[in-house]
């Protein structure tokens, strides 16, 4: 065990998007800001951040400081929540998404990415949005992540941007190779190319943003017992095994296909830095079972750092003081740590 020194804050503050103000975003943001001095072992205090959001809404939640210049954020952070104004069309009604506020919600995301591209912020933490509310305001993207991919293309024309979702908690990191599709379709569309793409992006991100010199990837088998030599489905032998062989030829420390049922207990988790699952529930079940409240959604494969809480707007409980801020807190810590690592590695 090495003696740890308190980590330095990231080089520039993080930027937090407004998300849908009718949801739990504001509530958890204020709760997190009140805990700003608290550290987590190895993490130090919460890295300074500012919000691109509506001042009237935010000032109803905690003391705010209106920024002219985002670089002031760290110096005021201990006294007030630093806010770069992005005004809503209508006052917030908790629990009721308002399409007329959609434009400001979207602009908050656009400005956060632009500020990160300009080097003013070191990473983006997004609060939850509601797709249905934004779609009625003309938002044409399937989700948050796809929109961020498009913004990346706008600001970093030459950089690759293939968003890959990772979920992380202190005890486990997981990446689903297929995400939001039917299980049957996930099996039918799984391909060697898809596995390779996701594995390569994951490996590169763990080196650059997580400070791992040689990340160890564990690839779960698709079928029970990883197919047991073809007795239970052929895909483990025909798709996953060849993909692992290719990755190893490239010098990536990948293993698999490994039986998924014995991949997630404490002892097994010691043997890898990230587990790649072949379908959504294969990795969502273990991480949500292990850490229901503290998981972070990290988007790998973008030219900028992006984390977000792994829950939605939760309109049904907005404003009732019940929403837990654990996931947002962990998202800020992780984005700060990634920004620091990226700055230090210089990759």
């Amino acid at each position: 065990m090495t003696i740890s020194r308190p980590p330095a804050p990231p080089p520039t503050p993080l930027v937090v998007t407004m998300g849908d103000p009718a949801g739990v975003g504001g509530e958890i943001l204020a709760k997190v800001w009140r805990r700003r001095e608290e550290g987590r072992p190895g993490d130090g205090p919460i890295p300074p951040f500012f919000v691109v959001g509506d001042p009237d809404w935010l000032s109803s939640l905690c003391p705010i400081h209106l920024l002219d210049d985002p670089t002031q954020a760290p110096s005021v952070f201990s006294r007030a929540l630093p806010v770069l104004p992005e005004r809503l069309a209508n006052p917030v009604r908790l629990g009721q998404g308002d399409p007329e506020n959609g434009a400001a919600i979207i602009r908050s995301i656009e400005r956060a990415v632009a500020l990160t591209a300009a080097g003013v912020a070191s990473g983006v933490v997004t609060l939850p949005i509601n797709k249905h509310v934004l779609q009625s305001a003309g938002f044409a993207h399937p989700g948050h992540t796809e929109f961020l991919g498009e913004l990346a293309a706008r600001h970093w024309a030459d950089a690759p941007h293939e968003p890959v979702m990772m979920l992380a908690c202190p005890r486990l990191r997981v990446v689903p190779v297929t995400v939001h599709m039917a299980l049957r379709r996930a099996v039918e569309t799984l391909s060697i190319d898809r596995i390779l793409t996701v594995a390569r992006i994951t490996e590169a991100a763990l080196r650059r943003d997580f400070g791992l010199a040689a990340p160890r990837l564990a690839l779960a088998g698709l079928n029970p017992h990883a197919g047991e030599e073809g007795r239970m489905g052929s895909e483990d032998a025909t798709l996953i095994a060849p993909a692992v062989a290719t990755l190893r030829d490239e010098g990536i420390d990948a293993r698999g296909p490994l039986p998924a049922d014995t991949l997630f207990h404490a002892e097994a988790r010691e043997r890898y830095d990230v587990a790649l699952g072949m379908y959504h529930d294969q990795v969502l079940i273990p991480i949500k079972t292990l850490d229901f409240h503290g998981g972070v959604n990290v988007t790998l494969g973008l030219p900028f750092i992006r984390t977000s809480p792994d829950h939605g707007t939760a309109f049904d409980i907005a404003g009732r003081g019940m929403a837990r801020e654990d996931s947002l807190l962990a998202s800020l810590h992780l984005a700060g740590s990634m920004a620091r690592t990226r700055a230090e590695s210089g990759i």
């Binding site: 995400v179 039917a182 299980l183 489905g233 207990h265 079940i285 949500k288």
Partner: protein
């Protein structure tokens, strides 16, 4: 009154006799039940000496009356007299495979005649079983054959989570194909029956979805939840069973462990096995549910471990857990109930 629980020895060349000898030394076992070993006396004595256990072994015939004032210092062993106790550890032997089969056959007879309330099984070796002339893939199929059962299910249990499966050892595409409203209804009933017979008043059963977010109202998937699961759930509900779902896989197991549900119905092998093995690699118990006559069989979750057999290094926690769940799930007097309407 504590129940009599049969413990079958499995393959005598594996770690079965050792984990049994260690368990018989464990006060926890005697606090739960009256253990009755169904195995080979010589093998049990050899294992007892290996682990340094203080008990003596009393050999019984399978129809001998059992005495509920039994002395924990005397291990009861129902022995078919195949004299396999001197076979070498760590080797595949047809005699051991045949004996393992006989232990199970006797245990089923004893359960059917009411002498024992449930069976906990030590591991057998598939290769030895086949060499001994019994061509079954494993314990479950032997038990199904001996009891004339065609429709059963695998339950996994830990102290905080019970999961029962709609499908198990088939590929994922085949698993999705095999899920039907009838199977869903059947497995919900199996879960309900085992838990009510064991004395639970009104078990709360949750059914997990097939697709991400349980399909999110048709957004992910082709309506499998509505087509394959919902009608089975509705039918069980109409029978008075407290069942809900389909629930998203990523939250239902956490909710069950928090206490919202008593058992989760998983659609496929890994969906149920991942959360159970994640939490309790040593405590997970495999239970065969739905055998005719209401027979409960629990199993250790490891194999014969030939590489370490006879070395007194094997851990016996898994057998203790199997005995614990055999006791917990054994049918209780007067607990047999029917839902509001029969199926």
């Amino acid at each position: 009154m504590k129940p009599f629980i049969g413990i079958t020895m499995g393959d005598v060349c594996g770690v079965g006799p050792e984990i049994i000898a260690k368990s018989l030394m464990d006060g926890a076992v005697h606090a739960l039940c009256h253990p009755v070993v169904i195995g080979d006396t010589g093998a049990l004595e050899r294992a007892r000496d290996l682990v340094g256990a203080p008990f003596t072994v009393r050999t019984l015939a399978s129809d001998a009356p059992l005495d509920d004032a039994a002395d924990p210092r005397v291990a009861l062993c129902v022995d078919p007299g195949l004299s396999v106790g001197a076979l070498p550890y760590g080797e595949v032997r047809p005699e051991a495979g045949h004996a393992a089969y006989e232990f199970i056959r006797i245990a089923v007879d004893m359960a059917q005649s009411g002498q024992i309330s449930a069976i906990a099984t030590a591991p057998l070796n598939k290769e030895a079983l086949h060499a001994g002339g019994h061509l079954f893939p494993g314990h479950t199929e032997i038990l199904a054959d001996l009891t004339g059962t065609t429709d059963y299910s695998m339950m996994l249990a830990t102290p905080k989570l019970k999961v029962i499966h709609l499908t198990t050892h088939v590929g994922m595409l085949e698993a999705v194909r095999r899920i039907t409203p009838e199977r869903t209804h059947r497995v919900i009933r199996l879960a309900w029956e085992v838990l009510t017979r064991s004395g639970m008043a009104s078990p709360r059963i949750a059914v997990c979805g097939i697709n991400p977010h349980a399909g999110e109202h048709g957004l992910f998937g082709e309506g499998e939840e509505e087509l394959k699961l919902a009608p089975g759930i509705a039918k069980a509900k109409a029978e008075g069973i407290d069942v809900s779902g389909p629930w998203p896989g990523d939250t239902v197991f956490f909710r069950a462990m928090r206490g919202d549900f008593d058992v989760v119905v998983a659609c496929y092998h890994d969906q149920g096995h991942i959360p159970v093995k994640l939490m309790s690699i040593d405590e997970g118990v495999n239970i065969t549910v739905g055998l005719n006559g209401g027979l409960i069989r629990t199993s250790v979750d490891h194999g014969t471990a030939f590489d370490i057999a006879g070395k007194n290094i094997v851990r016996h926690e898994s057998l203790i857990a199997a005995i614990r769940f055999a006791t917990e799930l054994a049918p209780k007097e007067g607990a047999t109930k029917r839902p509001r309407t029969s199926p």
